[in-house]
Amino acid sequence: MTTSPRQPPPQFVFRLKRALGGRAGWGGLALQVLFAAILIWIGYEIVANARTNLETQRIVSGFGFLRNNAGFDVSQSLVPYSGSDSYAWVFLVGLLNTILVSVIGIFVATVIGFLVALGRLSPNWLVARVAGAYVELIRNLPLLFQLLFWYLAVLGALPGPRQSIALFGSYLSNRGLIIPRPLPEAGLMPFAMALVVGIAAALVLRHYARQQLFERGRAIPIWPYVIGLVIGLPLVSALLFGAPFGLEVPVLKGFNFSGGTRVIPEFVALLVALSTYTAAFIAEIVRAGILSVHRGQMEAGLSLGLSRGTVLRLIVVPQALRVILPPLTNQYLNLTKNSSLAVSIGYPDLVSVFAGTALSQTGQAIEILAMTMGVYLLLSLVTSAIMSFYGWRLGRSLGT
């Protein structure tokens, strides 16, 4: 018989069916469409119903309030802000304050956490016990109490502005740490360019040194050259083109200092409380990660003649990072969300300024809370995306 064999269905139809409906095929697709339609209808009903009821009660709704004048001031703002700016600008100010304290807090907490974890694993009995005590104490006390403690302790220890402690033109008092503000001068552009060139050259040098190490086995100590490039080049430019910065020195006038930039005690207290609290959790996560690496790795490294520190740095911790990263991401997200406790000590973060003052002035709870929660969701998603990317790169370099 010379019948041609039956052609299989074209691949793309099969792939389309799988992509749209999963293993259930066209039936699955129909169910998904129905489910999505129901969800959309429910969402629409909620929004429409809420809007109708708000209208009946004559409660203002909608996002038009964002254009109105805020009419109040905040104590710290990374962008220029005055009382006559809009609520949308207030939102931005609060958001930047939250991001500032979260980013710096994440960084500091990670450093402290790693150190405490390594301390707890140290063969030194006293160091291990002290680190253990730190973890047990800090993670068992509520964060709000720790925050109030740091705030009141910081405030209580510092003198008033008229009796502030002066160090090198900076003043420390219970109004904050006031440092001289750098004002840009003529030599700023060449200085910046020299710095950029120095850093780029240092990176090129590092790449070259690693290449030499992996291909030829030559270990070149590059740190003198790096220091020379990153510090020396800008220094040379400062000498040639003039100082890059002038200093605006703070002066006590009346009640407070004028001039200079100020680090408010609320920021410091919030940062310290968040970092130490999250560091206790991070320490346990890191310790778990390190313990998850087989003891044979450490023994093998030691038997090769490497020191404990080198084995940890080059062999154990890179393998431990795979276990550490997901819970570590959790802790970063917790830190970001815990920064909303700032409202209890008067730090103008997003919740305090926008979901606090702006909400009670405009009364539009639904819109403001939706915006605030949306922003926190966005921050969390960005953080976990960054950590996922880091984990992916790590996995790639480890060959998994």
């Binding site: 809420a50 009660q57 409660i59 405030l155 009640f255 408010i264 003052t357 009364g363 639904i366």
Partner: protein
């Protein structure tokens, strides 16, 4: 998921709860058997719980008068302590029937919040509290000072307006709770504490050395404090309004808690109308004929309530000032009960 469910709950609350609350508040309160009254979290003189959990204060007396008028029992009130941030949401959602929480009457609050103010319990203004050691005699000397405020109140905006209007610079630190604000002021974090003058007197009592602090003479804003009810229920609005007016009218007519029994038997036409002997004004409101008697018997008139809570008979010792009756030098004026 957390964000979706909270949003869902909020939206549903706005969607469904408000329907039950409009136009039927009196019936709801009577069915419940209890008045739900929004008060502060603890402000001496206005709404403050003592160590046994009994609430006293000028705002509390308004709620007690309301409960007496409706139930003939001033204890049938549930007090819901609210911070400055969530007081309006509680009223909008129907959690409370009346908000009696030293809230300033402003246009934006009267319109965009879906609520109405029923009257003025206390004519107040915003002032400044400073330490005597700073040797400041006037608010105009406060250039570049640090000021502690409680967030979520009219205080922040008034402060911004005042300093901007006088070309003075300042640093503002805004706290969520009144207690943290006062503690920061006491620790020296800020030079000035600003709030309504009545609250300054009340909070000064809580400080370690009240005599070391002085309230500056400037009153930089008008803060008429009064009760709030939701839009859409005119009968309830009238009831809350006239309960307060009854207290003020009683003082004007000379009716006190002590002499209310004999005054009830008086032949004077205005007293007969008020006590219900003549006509049925109480029933027109939706209350009983003896509504006026119930109110004055349990809470006393406005002057007595004032003295007991914030005036000469209390620890605050605030003078009547603007809150005196209109024919005695103040501006408390209630329409006639007829």
């Amino acid at each position: 998921m957390k964000r979706v469910s909270l949003f869902f709950t909020l939206a549903v609350a706005a969607g469904f709860a408000s329907q039950a609350a409009t136009a039927e508040t009196l019936k709801t309160v009577k069915d419940r058997g209890q008045l739900s009254c929004g008060v502060s979290t603890g402000l001496p003189g206005f709404s403050n719980p003592d160590d046994k959990g009994n609430w006293t204060g000028l705002d509390v007396d308004v709620c007690r008068a309301l409960a007496a008028a409706i139930f003939n029992d001033p204890t049938k009130v549930k007090y819901v302590p609210l911070s400055a941030k969530d007081r309006f949401t509680a009223l909008q959602s129907g959690e409370i029937d009346v908000l009696s929480r030293n809230t300033t009457w402003t246009l934006s609050r009267d319109t965009s919040l879906g609520a109405n103010f029923t009257g003025v319990t206390y004519y107040d203004g915003q002032g400044f509290l400073v330490k005597k050691s700073l040797k400041v005699n006037s608010a105009l000397e406060l250039n570049s000072a640090s000021v502690c405020v409680q967030t979520g109140t009219t205080t922040e905006q008034n402060l911004a307006d005042y300093f901007k209007g006088n070309n003075m610079k300042y640093e503002v630190i805004a706290f969520a709770g009144q207690d943290e604000t006062v503690k920061a002021y006491e620790s020296g974090r800020c030079d000035v504490f600003t709030s309504d003058v009545s609250q300054l007197y009340a909070e000064r009592l809580k400080l370690a050395n009240p005599a070391d602090h002085v309230v500056l003479p400037e009153v930089i804003s008008k803060e008429p404090l009064g009760p709030m009810v939701r839009h859409g229920d005119d009968q309830w609005f009238d009831i809350v309004k006239w309960v307060l007016f009854a207290m003020v009218d009683a003082e004007e007519m000379g009716v006190t808690q002590g002499n209310v029994d004999e005054m009830a038997k008086s032949d004077k036409p205005d007293l007969k109308r008020a006590f219900g002997t003549d006509g049925n004004l109480g029933e027109q409101l939706g209350l009983t004929k003896d509504w006026f008697y119930r109110i004055i018997k349990t809470v006393g008139n406005y002057g007595e309530s004032f003295d007991r809570n914030v005036g000469a008979g209390s620890k605050l010792q605030i003078a009547r000032g603007l809150n005196q009756l209109w024919n005695k030098g103040g501006i408390q004026y209630a329409p006639p009960i007829r």
